[in-house]
Amino acid sequence: MSYGIEHTAHKDYTGAKIGMWLFLFTEFFLFFGPVLLYTIYRFRYHAAFTASSHELDLAIGSINTAILLTSSLTMAVSISALQRDRTKLSLWMLAATFVLGVVFLINKYFEWTEKFSHGMYPGGEALAGGPPGQGVFYGLYFFLTGLHGLHVLAGITAIGVLAFMVLKKKVSAADHVRLENAGLYWHLVDVVWIYLFPIFYLVR
């Protein structure tokens, strides 16, 4: 039993999009704060930031970047497919996006644990003796990539839920704004990483 007002089933597609856009806007500001801090600290500790950046695994970082970019492609194709009523293709693409997201997180896990094992984490012995800029770099690195990782996790969950809804025909060619909104969210997660990658891995 619905306790709310019994609305006529009037779906506002544009309204849903505006709502999602506004939410993405808030996510931009969420990441903006620490990136602003990063910018300031980079000027302050340029040498230490450069040195620390060299210590990150560029290979994994680049591969992860490629993975997320590819997942954006599969997501976009998934939506395009559903719009053309190609449900099967859409589902496969969603599955691919999901898997790519999971692989991204697994890579992250290996990357992080590698650092942990060498004491390269806030509070770890290797950083304790190092210059202050190095500590700040790693602090920002773990915080920002961690925050981003949480968003990837949320995105993967959303994709899983959407895939289920597509299977159950609750989301279809006739009514797919929710898939599009999930896509928008996923692309935002990709765009954030597009910036995080150079600021952490490519400081020279």
């Binding site: 597609y13 544009t14 590819t70 194709v77 990709d190 910036y195």
Partner: protein, 70 residues
């Protein structure tokens, strides 16, 4: 798909793939040139490239999702 007699924009697969190729290429480029530059300004080139990549994602992957009613 038609709505009110208007055909609205659905992204074409080939466009999407070409954008993806550009994104991968730009990523390769940004890694390659990250050594070039001087001191604090070495951020400029990677940042510019990142912005181009972001623009591609926003304009080709996200923008079609903001089309009118449907």
């Amino acid at each position: 798909m038609y709505e009110n007699g208007e055909k609205h924009y659905i992204a074409r697969y080939t466009t999407l793939v070409m954008v993806w190729v550009s994104l991968i290429g730009l990523t390769w480029l940004t890694v390659k040139i990250s050594g070039i530059g001087f001191g604090t300004f070495s951020i400029i080139a990677p940042f510019l490239i990142a912005s181009i990549k972001a623009f591609l994602v926003v304009d080709y992957f996200m923008h079609p999702l903001f089309r009118k009613e449907g």
